[in-house]
C-alpha cells in the first residue's frame, strides 16, 4: 500500500521546466504557512500529510498552492484554531465581496 502522491518510478510524460510568476494569492498562502510554522501552530510535516490526504482526485486537479491552502485549512480545523462555521462564513463573505466588485475570478 502506498499513497497516491508516492508516484516515483511510475510512467509519466516528459518534464517540462517552465518559469512562472506567482499570483498575489499564492504569495499570501506562502506567507500564511510561514507564519503558522514560525508560531509553531502547524509543522511542514502536517502540511504534507494534509496534502496527501486530499486524495487522488483533488491531488491531481488542484494547483500547487491550492493544495497548500486546502491542507492548511484542514489542519487548522483539526486543531480547532478555526471552526467550520467561521471558515464557511468568511469564504461566503469574501465571495460576496468579490462578486460585488464585478470581478470574475477563477477561485482566486
Amino acid at each position: 500500500m502506498h499513497r497516491h502522491h508516492d508516484m516515483g518510478g511510475a510512467p509519466a510524460g516528459p518534464v517540462v521546466p517552465a518559469e512562472h510568476d506567482y499570483a498575489a494569492w499564492e504569495k499570501r498562502v506562502d506567507a500564511i504557512l510561514r507564519l503558522l510554522t514560525a508560531r509553531q501552530v502547524i509543522t511542514v510535516d502536517e502540511l504534507r500529510r494534509g496534502i496527501e490526504e486530499l486524495g487522488p482526485g483533488a491531488y491531481d486537479e488542484l494547483s500547487y498552492y491550492q493544495r497548500w491552502i486546502a491542507s492548511i485549512g484542514n489542519n487548522l480545523l483539526e486543531k480547532g484554531v478555526i471552526s467550520v462555521d467561521e471558515l464557511g462564513g468568511r469564504l461566503a463573505a469574501v465571495e460576496a465581496r468579490w462578486r460585488a466588485a464585478g470581478r470574475r475570478g477563477e477561485g482566486g
Partner: protein, 99 residues
C-alpha cells in the same frame, strides 16, 4: 548521538507498507543500498505529521542505490545511482550471503 549504521554499510530498506504519512519512497522498499553519509538526528516526521513530538530523534542517512537494481530492464549506465534520505527505522542490516 549514536547511529546504527556506519558510512559504507550495506543496508536494506524494510519491505513494509504502512498506511499514513511515510517518508520512504515506495519504489525503494525491499531494495539494498549503501550508506553514503549520516546526515544527523531529527524528530521523526512520520510522527510530526500527526501533531506529536516525533521524539526520540532518529538518525537520518543518505543511502545510495543502483538504478539497474531498482528498475527492471534499466537502459542507462550500469553505475547510475539514485540517492535518497532514509530514516534509521526504515533500514535493516543487509546480510551478506555471498562470501
Amino acid at each position: 548521538m549514536s547511529a546504527r549504521f556506519a558510512t559504507g554499510a550495506r543496508v536494506q530498506v524494510r519491505r513494509i507498507f504502512p498506511p499514513g504519512h511515510v517518508r520512504t519512497p515506495h519504489y525503494l522498499r525491499g531494495h539494498a543500498g549503501v550508506v553514503d553519509s549520516i546526515l544527523g538526528h531529527y524528530a521523526n516526521p512520520e510522527e510530526l505529521a500527526y501533531g506529536r513530538d516525533g521524539l526520540p530523534r532518529r538518525a537520518l542517512y543518505r543511502v545510495r542505490f543502483r538504478q539497474a537494481e531498482l528498475w527492471p530492464g534499466y537502459g542507462g549506465a550500469q553505475d547510475d545511482s539514485v540517492v535518497a534520505d532514509i530514516y534509521e527505522h526504515w533500514l535493516e542490516p543487509l546480510e551478506e550471503v555471498q562470501a
